[in-house]
Symmetry: C2
Subunit: 510 residues, 2 copies
Amino acid sequence: MFESAELGHKIKKSAYDKEVPDLREALLDIQMELAKSGAFQVIILLGGLDGSGRGATANLLNEWMDPRHIQTHGMGEPSDEELDRPMMWRFWRALPPKGKIGIFLGSWYTWPILNRVKGITKDSDLNQSLERAVQLEKMLVDEGALVLKFWFHLSKEKQEKRFKELEKSSLAYGTTIKQDKKLLKEYDAFQAVHEKVIRYTSTAEAPWLVVEGVDARYRNLTVGKVILKAIQDRLRLENAPPPRILAPPLMPPIDNLHLLKTLDMTQEIDKQDYKVELEKLQGRLNDLTRDPKFKYMSVIAVFEGNDAAGKGGSIRRITGALDARSYQVIPIAAPTEEERAQPYLWRFWRHLPRKGRVTIFDRSWYGRVLVERVEGFCSEADWMRAYGEINEFEAQMARHRILVIKFWLTITKDEQLRRFEERQQIGFKRFKITDEDWRNREKWEQYEQAVCDMVDRTSTLNAPWTLVEANSKNFARVKILKTLCERVEGKLKELGAQGLDYLDPPKKSR
Amino acid sequence: MFESAELGHKIKKSAYDKEVPDLREALLDIQMELAKSGAFQVIILLGGLDGSGRGATANLLNEWMDPRHIQTHGMGEPSDEELDRPMMWRFWRALPPKGKIGIFLGSWYTWPILNRVKGITKDSDLNQSLERAVQLEKMLVDEGALVLKFWFHLSKEKQEKRFKELEKSSLAYGTTIKQDKKLLKEYDAFQAVHEKVIRYTSTAEAPWLVVEGVDARYRNLTVGKVILKAIQDRLRLENAPPPRILAPPLMPPIDNLHLLKTLDMTQEIDKQDYKVELEKLQGRLNDLTRDPKFKYMSVIAVFEGNDAAGKGGSIRRITGALDARSYQVIPIAAPTEEERAQPYLWRFWRHLPRKGRVTIFDRSWYGRVLVERVEGFCSEADWMRAYGEINEFEAQMARHRILVIKFWLTITKDEQLRRFEERQQIGFKRFKITDEDWRNREKWEQYEQAVCDMVDRTSTLNAPWTLVEANSKNFARVKILKTLCERVEGKLKELGAQGLDYLDPPKKSR
């Protein structure tokens, strides 16, 4: 894999000086065109051995281009904030918006490689990390991003030479040198892992570009020219037709039976019983979140449902049971400008809770396969791939001990009509009903089909859907609180069985 | 994942009888249209629990459609022939050609699931199997195939009932019933694995379609309608524009240096020394293939190189050292009609050797990233993804103890001219030179670039490329034989260290 990057590529100073001015101008031009169009973001990974010139290249790109449109991320040791979330969270928060360029010196490859070389993880762990990396990059490319992965390579002999030069240089510090010498000793171990990483993650969408790191002029010209050509090509492509959808159809309706029709929508609860139950369940939930083990987990509750199904009221019955400092309610409306400039999952990643906290989403990432599908806000290819992306998103949460609890609140078409009309008549409720609600109602059957597909494709062992019969608001609230309590209780028991050692692993093993 | 498939879907006989004639006619029509166009193959997987109606559905499809255009594969226990090759070999040989429909009752999922449930394999093994399944299906879809995956589901209660009915039926045999009862006991273990499989491998390109297996009429209508619509949709798409290429460019030439230029092309060997060396090396190779451990491995030697670089002569020096019953030479020319109707790797999969054998490819699967790339016989997207597909192909061989040894024979442009002219003058060599050879010569630089990219992207620890300086034929032959001997020797040592227990695993653990 590294054959062409050990040949001793070299550019003469005179040739370099002649090429650079034109290249810089072209880079600046294309950067402006990109910023103006806001068509896509450019994600540049600079990987490779220490001493191979990654830092210098990042500096150079900032010098050659307009740094206002570049975000550079070192991605060293993760912060406490970051350790409290799934590994990918820190990368999601660092993604550049459309129109900008993000340069990553450390990436989703850095820690999996390091942990494997150090023997902290096994081959199967590395495989899974690489699998996640491939999925992340595929998603980014599907969302339109241009992903450029440079791998700077030095032969063992050249790395040794580089370190010796550094030792003499006034820029090097004692500790760095000591660390570097250790790295040199591990050269072969690193190379074996690097080879695997590059082979496995050189996909057609985002292949690694291996660059010989020895000669700075060669390195600079290579990186500059690749970036220039890639952005030029992609900007030209933006007007090309969208990709063909090669997916087979989802399940067609064959009989008239579907999931939502099997619910007993007449269920209700006596008013007096409701009061008693509510108080009991709220107390139980409060107790559960005060369990000492609760600080090793977190909860995400997702509320989806028909318009006017009573999501807000149900959420308030939950928050009423919680310490105000321990929860957040995230209402999801149309995405902001900032959010539209990112892959669609970005706006949800940013709200993942720290350990010991509860986050409630009033509508969620499922908008992609519900309203966006039905209203045609995204292409068929987009929502078809969303099921897999969402399952992977929730699997990452589960791995990080975030308990995901998902509710679909359903009401009958008649009950919705009754509530819509009531809302229009009662002054303080009028703001809750819009023309859009009436329009959505006309697509009732399409929404039902979308809900059934959603439940079938995203109800998993880790994160099952709970369908809530919500014609009776009180019945729905009790069912929701009961489900929450049971799921949290189950998770706490599981944590208890695993013991604290497991729960609180040393940071570096992440 | 199975919510909608436990609702008790049922179709009344009268409704069924009314729908079926039209559906059958439409299926027959579309099948003929597909066969006539030869545009793509349809690969139908029927997965699911025993007793869920997979066999009955396969029979029905053969009854409803024209069985001459359908190939049905049971895929039970693998044969000795099949056990001697990588797991995927038996599926490659069973792929339907374009224009036809292949129905698989067992698939690349069957054994990974079974082995995991039985505890023969671990979660990480299952993950890797699923990863390979996803890659295979992605490749099939990229090559144009329509992949339809049906999963027939029965709730535990329904499966039990089904088995009881079977017991009463005259069609059931004692052993089957005993086996079925055991399966029922393992229902929950199977379900946990099934859920994971379906979630992980429901990709946008080839999602699982979960079908309730209880009511035969519902099952039949569902499968029939999905197949009809999917083929109709795809036939309509065939005239759509090809997919956009979103890949960044490969490494551009920055300086004038590349891999092939660093070779010392003046190397030669004295004629007398050559004779001695040749005999010695041929004897050594012969000895190595007679090593008792050699029957636990096999060898694939790949020969690629410039036109007139001397591939044929080198191959004859190898075969001269081998027992005629132990090797095969596969010359690769333009694909046959049968081969063109399959994914491009199909013609190579069919020639994989059994254990203890040597297969020599005179040109190979690398044509995809060499001649097909340079001559534009496939799209950029096609050859870009080929690097990854080839690496995966060779990794599967390596896992099955097939030693892959790859040679690129290179000569200088001047030397090629000399050989071309010589061939034209010598009568018995004239057949070896064609107009095409002269045309290829005009694209010398483009071919060089393709060779460098190929080596960089497909030279792996398991299957590295050996570049052979072939201006002197004798020098090349000695280098090739020496490399072969060293690689085989290394592999035999490795096998010796692993012990026979490892080498000869029980069949069921595969």
